[in-house]
Symmetry: C2
Subunit: 259 residues, 2 copies
């Protein structure tokens, strides 16, 4: 039986996200980037391990990015790369890397091509500033580039632009095997199945088994989500769970119960 | 002119949130607690300053909670307090405080009253475990208590239960003055207003001015959000912004532009 642990190619690539923005911390804006980023990275074989939401304060951004980039293969930031005074992400990343902040010539060219002649104002030029040595991350839908420096990827906060930039970042990212998941739903509460679930988890330590209560039209119940990188092993753990549920007289529904 | 800085009663109370859960990190589940918690705390005069999302791994939870509780007045955790094997928040908080984990007698009484006789199984008793010395946080809608130990408040991840428990936590929380906000929207891009915005920000350093691009039926534009604890000062900054916009020939709309 092959498990992820015995597979020499199964290096696990990890990522973290720093969400930069007072508007997320105040509750004004609901983050819409984490779920998309986590799912996309997983298809690339990279696992999201930590997220921090920090305010628009340089020292806070520097500390968070430095803590995260030392620990994970890739760090993504969202937010704070527009033209206004509260857009301080580029400055903060340069400081985190102790690099000078420069105007990237290719970014200036992109902006110059976008605005009418004479309208590339000093304020707009701010959007071309990157730490010295950064690569631009272009995107198909807007002129605004993100950038990469070291293992840190700096993306926009506006979801449509962030998603486009993330596609532009694809070429910089090496990944391993994706995490696959299987979901089995039951119409009983968590406490009815806690013991058998723990038993299955003990037999399949390389499969991550999560248990999530829900309240739907069909009633209340629990979604059981199994996740792992080794597909045959994941199928085996899922079948073992189905059998355990059957043995306890509990009907197992494949997938999520509709809302 | 009174500013927050000159007001001896204007101590700022701060909070952080640790969201515990693989399902948030994987993108399976969208967090629905941060915005509610941030807005509720603000009405209580407490400001959300940092959020971390961490996986269901004891060491990660311990490290995050210990970092946050040393730094902020209050720390909230959501998730991981159910009856299953992946619910390890109580164990992790006890470890963070180096306290034994005990069964809280009042929590056992709540659970015993909820389940039919003989059905308070060992698995269900898990939900009564708290660090020794913790206070229960009861809630009006369900039996499941959260708990408080030191400055850490441990709440459920299911939003309806979390919200009810948060009401139960109200009595433990002292706050200062709430942050008030004013929003002015303009139908021009950020780069058109960046300079005047920075100028207003410089004159009102105690008011936090954020600028958020939007794409709505009415067109694309920018929401300008001013936030501060001193209401007259906030009104003055907002009026100064309106005047600056008028001077630049840009129409200011009060509030958000509808979607």
């Amino acid at each position: 039986m092959t498990t992820a642990n015995n597979d020499p190619d199964a290096r696990i690539y990890t990522a973290a996200l720093a969400i930069i923005g007072n508007e997320i911390l105040s509750g004004r804006t609901q983050d819409a980037n984490l779920a998309h980023l986590a799912k996309t990275l997983n298809t690339w074989g990279v696992e999201m391990r930590e997220v921090r939401v920090v305010p628009d304060i340089e020292g806070e951004i520097v500390d968070a990015v430095n803590a995260l980039r030392a620990r994970y293969d890739y760090v993504f930031t969202t937010g704070g790369i527009g033209p206004t005074h509260d857009d301080i992400t580029a400055d903060s990343i340069a400081k985190a890397f102790a690099l000078p902040l420069i105007e990237h010539p290719a970014a200036i060219a992109l902006l110059a091509a976008h605005y009418p002649p004479g309208e590339l104002t000093p304020v707009r030029r701010r959007m071309a500033r990157v730490p010295d040595g950064a690569d631009l991350i272009e995107n198909p839908i807007s002129k605004a580039p993100g950038f990469r420096i070291g293992n840190v990827f700096v993306l926009a906060g506006v979801p449509a632009i962030m998603r486009a930039q993330l596609e532009g970042a694809r070429g910089f990212i090496a990944g391993g095997r994706s995490v696959q998941s299987r979901t089995v739903s039951v119409l009983v509460g968590e406490s009815r199945i806690a013991e058998l679930l723990e038993d299955v988890q003990k037999h399949y330590p390389d499969t991550d088994i999560g248990s999530y209560p829900f309240f739907r039209k069909a009633g209340f119940g629990t979604a059981l989500v199994l996740r792992g990188r080794d597909l045959p092993r994941l199928e085996e753990a899922t079948e073992s769970l189905r059998q355990a549920l059957r043995g306890a007289g509990i009907e197992a529904h494949e997938g999520e119960i509709p809302a």
